[in-house]
Amino acid sequence: MNYDDVEIGTELPARTFTIQRANLVQYCGASGDFNIIHWNERIAKAVGLPDVIAHGMYTMAEAGRLVTDWVGDPGAVVEYGVRFSAPVPVPDDDKGTDLVVSGTVAEKLDGNRVAVDLDARVGETKVLMKARAVVQLA
């Protein structure tokens, strides 16, 4: 993708990522984040959470796929930051939780860099705020 071909306002179409308990268990192992709130409903509820919640970093990773698939080269992502604005509860059922992510090219920066703002929701709830990736284009 070329910098000159990208316009502010270009939309990255929405995608749905379904998160199930099994995904969280796998992410615990791959990331090394075994915080009990990501796999033990009893403790999660005892500390005031609605249910087991997804790792924020798991949600961030899924949202980032919108950008890496759009740009083609995942190595083009030079900055990626988010604020976790609401927990993503993942129930113990066969359905899981649908995370819906969309994106917009927000800014064209110096040095052929482009900022993409991401919108990530579960139902009506925004689970990421200030979610922005900066990518280096040719």
């Binding site: 090394g32 990773a61 995942p74 930051g81 990736a133």
Partner: protein, 151 residues
């Protein structure tokens, strides 16, 4: 109980180095359900100009957990109850993509602890360089310690 503010400014150089392998990258990519070929297929990575398979943009989170357990998070004097912790913010600044074969050296530091209502926010920086001194990335993470602010 509030966090110990004396920890702001403390640095924790990792006690050893972290070697990034193709299999670690593969396992992480699988865990996030991402089948982009640059993570697993050397030829695909080379076609994009990388010398070996590269890691997803959030891969370096593994370093924070690999080393958090030898750093401030588990220091009883900090007073952090991990079950009360949720992740508030995270930012990655990449100087170049992480790739298989990298041997990484990590310095973690606590850059800020402050109140936010009844909660406390602790911001850490994780600076990642190769053993040759090449800058790879800087990670900034903010943890929310729920309900621990001084009344």
């Amino acid at each position: 109980m509030p966090l110990n503010r004396d920890f702001v400014g403390r640095e924790y150089p990792a006690p050893d180095t972290y070697e990034v392998s193709r299999e670690l990258i593969r396992r992480f990519a699988q865990a996030i359900g991402d089948n982009h070929p640059a993570y697993t297929d050397i030829e695909a990575a080379k076609a994009l100009g990388h010398p070996d398979v590269i890691a997803p943009p959030t891969f370096l989170t593994v370093l924070t957990f690999r080393y958090a357990m030898s750093g401030p998070v588990v220091d009883p004097d900090l007073g952090l109850n991990y079950a009360l912790v949720v992740h508030g913010e995270q930012k990655f600044v990449h100087h170049r993509p992480v790739r298989a074969g990298d041997v990484l050296r990590v310095v973690s530091s606590i850059v800020d602890i402050r109140d936010a209502g009844r909660n406390e926010l602790m911001t850490t920086k994780t600076a990642v360089v190769t053993t040759e001194g090449e800058p790879i990335a800087d990670l900034y993470g903010t943890l929310v310690s729920r309900g621990t602010a001084a009344a």
